[in-house]
C-alpha cells in the first residue's frame, strides 16, 4: 500500500502570514478615508424615509441638524422628541438654537445656512410643522428634509 503512504516527517508547510498586515492596512485606509466622525450622539431613533428627487449638500459646514424621533431611552416613552445638539429640547428652543448656530458663522454666510431636518419616518407631521413654524419665525427658511436615496412608490 505504498501508494497511500503519508509523507513522513514533513507536515504541511505553514501558510505565510506576512501579507496579512498589508491586507488589514488596506482595509484600515479604506475606513480612514470614508469615515465621518459622528457629530452628535443620537438620543432619538431616526430612520429617514426614502426619496428619489434629492440633492447632496454642497457645503456640510453650513448645515445645522435637527433630529426628531422616538427617544432611544425607553423610560421617556414613545412620543416623538426633538434633539438639538446633544440634548433633548422643546419646540420653543429651536429658534434660540438656530441663533447660536448663526453666531458661530461669519455674517456673510448666515443667509446660506441650511437647516437639515432628520426626522424618523413614523413621526407625525404635527411636531414637524411646529418646528418649521419656529424656523420661519427666525427666518431660517432654507431647509432640507434628510432622506435616503431610494425607490419611488410605484
Amino acid at each position: 500500500m505504498s501508494k497511500f503512504k503519508k509523507d513522513d516527517g514533513k507536515g504541511d508547510p505553514a501558510i505565510s502570514t506576512a501579507s496579512l498586515p498589508d491586507i488589514v492596512f488596506m482595509l484600515l485606509f479604506f475606513f480612514m478615508v470614508t469615515t465621518v466622525m459622528r457629530e452628535v450622539d443620537l438620543k432619538v431613533k431616526v430612520n429617514t424615509p426614502e426619496a428619489s428627487e434629492i440633492k447632496k449638500f454642497k457645503n456640510k459646514s453650513l448645515v445645522t441638524y435637527i433630529y426628531i424621533g422616538e427617544p432611544t431611552d425607553k423610560k421617556l416613552g414613545t412620543s416623538s422628541r426633538i434633539q438639538l445638539g446633544d440634548a433633548y429640547a422643546d419646540v420653543a428652543e429651536v429658534g434660540a438654537y438656530i441663533e447660536t448656530k448663526r453666531g458661530e458663522h461669519d455674517e456673510a454666510e448666515v443667509p446660506l445656512l441650511v437647516t437639515a431636518l432628520k426626522v424618523d419616518l413614523g413621526t407625525k407631521m404635527g411636531i414637524v410643522t411646529e418646528v418649521k413654524q419656529e424656523l420661519r419665525k427666525v427666518t431660517a427658511l432654507k431647509i432640507s428634509y434628510s432622506t435616503r436615496e431610494g425607490g419611488v412608490v410605484n
Partner: protein
C-alpha cells in the same frame, strides 16, 4: 571579524496593531449620507400686509393628506402611485381643458413666446399625517415637475435636464424653470384627526 546578521524584527504583531486601528475606525464610522430634499419655507408675513388676491380654483391642485395617511386630490381619493401622473397632467394641461389651469403667454428667453400655465399646487396635511407619507407626496410632486422639465429639455436642447444641471448651463435651466416653475404651497396644517 565575524559579521553578524542584524536580527530580524518579528512583524507578527503588526497585524494585531493594524486590526486594533481597523476596529476603531469600524466602530466610529458612520456612512453618513448628507442627502436631502431642499425646500424653502415661506417668510412670515407682517400682519398689516394686504391679503394676496385669490387664485382661481382651476389653477389650484389641492392635495390633502389626512391622519390615516389617505390622500384626497382635487376632491377625489387617490393612491400615492397615481399622484405623479395626475400632477403632471395638471401642470401641463396638454388638452387645454376648462377644468385645468389657465395658460398665459410669457416671453421666455431662448424659447420665445410660450404658453405657461398658471398652476399652483396646494399641499395640506393633518397633524396626524405620517412624515413618511409627507415625504412621499413631496417626492412625487417634485418628480412630476422634474419629468416635465426633463421632457422639455430633451425636446428643446436634445440633452437631459440633469446634464444641464451638472454642466451648470444657467440660461437653459432658467428658461426651463420659467416654463415649469415649481410652485408648491403648503397650507397651515389642520388638526382634525386628533392626536
Amino acid at each position: 571579524m565575524a559579521k553578524r546578521d542584524a536580527p530580524e524584527i518579528n512583524a507578527g504583531s503588526m497585524a494585531d496593531i493594524a486590526f486594533l486601528l481597523l476596529v476603531f475606525f469600524l466602530v466610529t464610522t458612520t456612512m453618513d449620507s448628507d442627502l436631502g430634499m431642499m425646500r424653502k419655507l415661506p417668510p412670515t408675513l407682517p400682519p398689516d400686509m394686504p391679503k394676496p388676491p385669490p387664485i382661481k380654483d382651476r389653477n389650484v391642485f389641492v392635495v390633502l393628506a389626512n391622519s390615516n395617511d389617505q390622500l384626497l386630490v382635487e376632491g377625489e381619493l387617490m393612491d400615492i402611485t397615481e399622484l405623479k401622473e395626475a400632477a403632471k397632467e395638471f401642470i401641463e394641461n396638454p388638452m387645454n381643458k376648462e377644468t385645468l389651469p389657465e395658460k398665459k403667454q410669457v416671453d421666455v428667453p431662448l424659447f420665445g413666446p410660450t404658453m405657461v400655465s398658471k398652476q399652483v399646487i396646494s399641499l395640506q396635511n393633518d397633524n396626524g399625517t405620517s412624515y413618511k407619507l409627507y415625504i412621499q407626496v413631496q417626492n412625487e410632486l417634485a418628480r412630476a415637475y422634474n419629468e416635465l422639465r426633463e421632457d422639455l429639455a430633451m425636446e428643446e436642447f436634445g440633452v437631459s435636464y440633469e446634464t444641464l444641471l451638472e454642466n451648470k448651463e444657467k440660461k437653459k435651466i432658467k428658461a426651463i424653470r420659467k416654463v415649469y416653475p415649481q410652485r408648491i404651497s403648503e397650507a397651515e396644517p389642520k388638526n382634525v384627526g386628533g392626536n
